[in-house]
């Protein structure tokens, strides 16, 4: 019980201090809107094309929503030494890091549903398999957050975390099938796509929203879950090795 009091308060503090600030909220609204508009204009599509863009926009909103703040919530606090306070708390490291990342996961999920709400005014979403969309969004948010955590733990400066995460995030837009099918990628870089968690998340979302997907859901979701576990375990190992010297 006492550990959960700590968990909830770490999450609540981070939400209040970092995530629910006006710049973040506006970023969460503007970013998906800008991407949808950009791809609609670029493809010369009509409003009906929004449905094919929606999985990619949802995924990119989660990716950027989760990873952008972890550099602050983890790297900045580590640098300012307030993170030591958390390490000294009598709660397991796993629970502590889960609390520290829960805010990013919630924020990422909220971001994903911004384009959905916008799209609902333009197109019919009654055929979307929400029972698949919600767990997929959750798993994308968790895997992206843990990717952000992995980056945040690997560096020591906030600017390094931001640079490193951009180095990974922007190629992922093109490598993970967000807006271009993987089949159109050169064969030599296709294996790279399958080494990135977002590829499986976008594929599952595409299946749930448009009905067509490259891999079965029984592959997409377990692989995504495996990425979540792997990235979290790797981050914890790095914290123990690099931060508890």
């Amino acid at each position: 019980m006492t550990a959960w009091i700590a968990f909830w308060n770490i999450l609540a503090k981070d939400m209040r201090s970092y995530y629910l600030k006006p710049p973040n909220i506006s970023w969460g609204l503007i970013f998906p809107l800008a991407w949808t508009g950009m791809f609609l204009i670029r493809t010369g599509g009509t409003v009906n094309d929004v449905i094919s863009l929606l999985p990619g926009v949802m995924a990119i909103s989660v990716l950027f929503g989760t990873t952008s703040m972890l550099a602050v919530t983890v790297t900045f606090e580590k640098k300012g030494r307030s993170f030591e306070r958390l390490l000294l708390a009598p709660i397991p490291l796993e629970l502590l890091m889960a609390a520290k990342t829960a805010g990013a996961i919630v924020f990422g999920m909220i971001n994903a549903f911004v384009p959905v709400m916008m799209s609902a005014f333009l197109i019919d979403l009654s055929n979307v398999a929400w029972g698949v969309v919600v767990p997929t969004i959750f798993l994308i948010a968790v895997s992206s957050t843990f990717l952000g955590l992995f980056i945040a733990v690997a560096v020591s400066e906030v600017f390094e975390a931001q640079t490193f995460s951009n180095f990974l995030r922007f190629p992922m837009i093109f490598l993970c099938g967000l807006f271009f099918p993987l089949a159109r990628l050169p064969w030599a870089i296709r294996p790279l796509s399958y080494a990135l968690p977002l590829t499986y998340g976008v594929d599952a979302l595409r299946g749930a929203v448009t009905g067509s997907q490259a891999m079965p859901l029984t592959v997409d979701l377990p692989v995504l879950a495996a990425f979540c576990v792997g990235l979290f375990a790797l981050s914890l190992r790095n914290i123990k090795r690099k931060w508890i010297l």
């Binding site: 006492t2 503090k13 306070r85």
Partner: protein
């Protein structure tokens, strides 16, 4: 023993920060680690609290082996680091409530405890101001309050009064003494010799990662009890006078503490009058002559070989930095 450390060692790259350290702290004791910067005091605290992992040795806190995993003992300890590390965006009150939550205190208890500590530390009026806007002394007080929010039986204090004004330092020392009187076991690191002397029941002198001597203040001072010291302030630097003084007063020891200041020591009581007259006859004006009580500083210098002046310069530098 509340804290038991055996053969503790820690190396960073090629620097041996803690070298085969062994000591124990009894329940209710106020134990001081005294040494210059880089002596390994903060590393020792980090090792004891779980912020660093030892290369060798064992650590036990209240009988719990914390050498590899300090989590089981973290509920029993409070830690006040050498730098204030609370959240700048939160108010003093919010910071304390958040720290209380980390130890699982329920909402009502968190609020009452935060209010109580803000009152104790004289910060009630600043309770709802952001921590970032606090003065250095206020930050230090709130950091100490955060360290004791869960009423830990053991408290680690790393340089609690470094870099703050005299009034705040006095208040903090009084609070530390009070906490100890109420039964809290305290391990304090400092490079203020007078602070250690005033507060601690036992002191360990730490140099280059090792404890060179650990004992009660009384026992440490024992060899100096028969020693008599006087300080003479001269109007000019008289380097060459030392040899003549020694020839005229062979039972005394003379040392030039700093330019223009001569320290006179003897194992027997002596009068400063003849020395002053001797100097004045040699054409050197004595501005001031006063007796001084041998202090822990003298013991520290004698045992460690580190001049108190060097420590003083260090702490002035630190004070300016923090």
């Amino acid at each position: 023993m509340t804290i038991e450390v055996r053969n503790l060692s820690k190396t960073f790259a090629d620097v041996r920060a803690v070298d085969d350290l062994s000591f124990g702290v009894q329940r209710g004791e106020l134990f001081g680690l005294l040494g210059p910067n880089g002596a390994g005091k903060t590393t020792t605290i980090n090792l004891l609290t779980g912020l660093a992992r030892p290369d060798g040795g064992t650590i036990k806190i209240e009988g719990i082996d914390c050498t590899r995993d300090s989590k089981p003992s973290q509920r029993l300890i409070g830690v006040v680091p050498d730098e204030s590390n609370l959240y700048p965006e939160l108010s003093g009150f919010e910071n304390l409530r958040f720290c209380a939550a980390l130890y699982g205190l329920r909402k009502g208890k968190r609020t009452s405890r935060a209010r109580e500590l803000l009152r104790t530390f004289g910060l009630s009026e600043a309770a709802h101001r952001k921590f970032a806007g606090y003065s250095r002394g206020m930050k230090r007080k709130l950091t100490i309050a955060a360290g004791i929010i869960h009423q830990p039986p053991i408290l680690f204090l790393d340089e609690p009064t470094t870099g703050i004004d005299v009034a705040s330092a006095r208040m903090i020392r009084a609070l530390i003494a009070n906490l100890n009187r109420e039964g809290t076991t305290i391990l304090l690191t400092t490079h203020y010799i007078e602070e250690a002397e005033r507060l601690c029941s036992r002191i360990a002198f730490m140099v280059a990662g090792r404890i060179v001597r650990a004992d009660s203040v009384e026992n440490l001072m024992q060899p100096l009890h028969g020693r008599h010291v006087a300080l003479l302030t001269l109007s000019e630097t008289a380097v060459s006078i030392g040899r003549s003084l020694l020839a005229a007063f062979p039972d005394h020891r003379f040392a030039m503490e700093m330019p223009g200041q001569v320290r006179v020591e003897s194992d027997r009581p002596f009068s400063v009058g003849p020395i002053v007259r001797f100097l004045e006859e040699a054409g050197i004006e004595v501005v001031e002559a006063r007796r001084v009580r041998p202090s822990l500083e003298d013991v520290f210098v004698e045992i460690t070989g580190i001049e108190a002046d060097a420590m003083r310069r260090e702490r002035e530098k630190m004070g300016a930095r923090t």
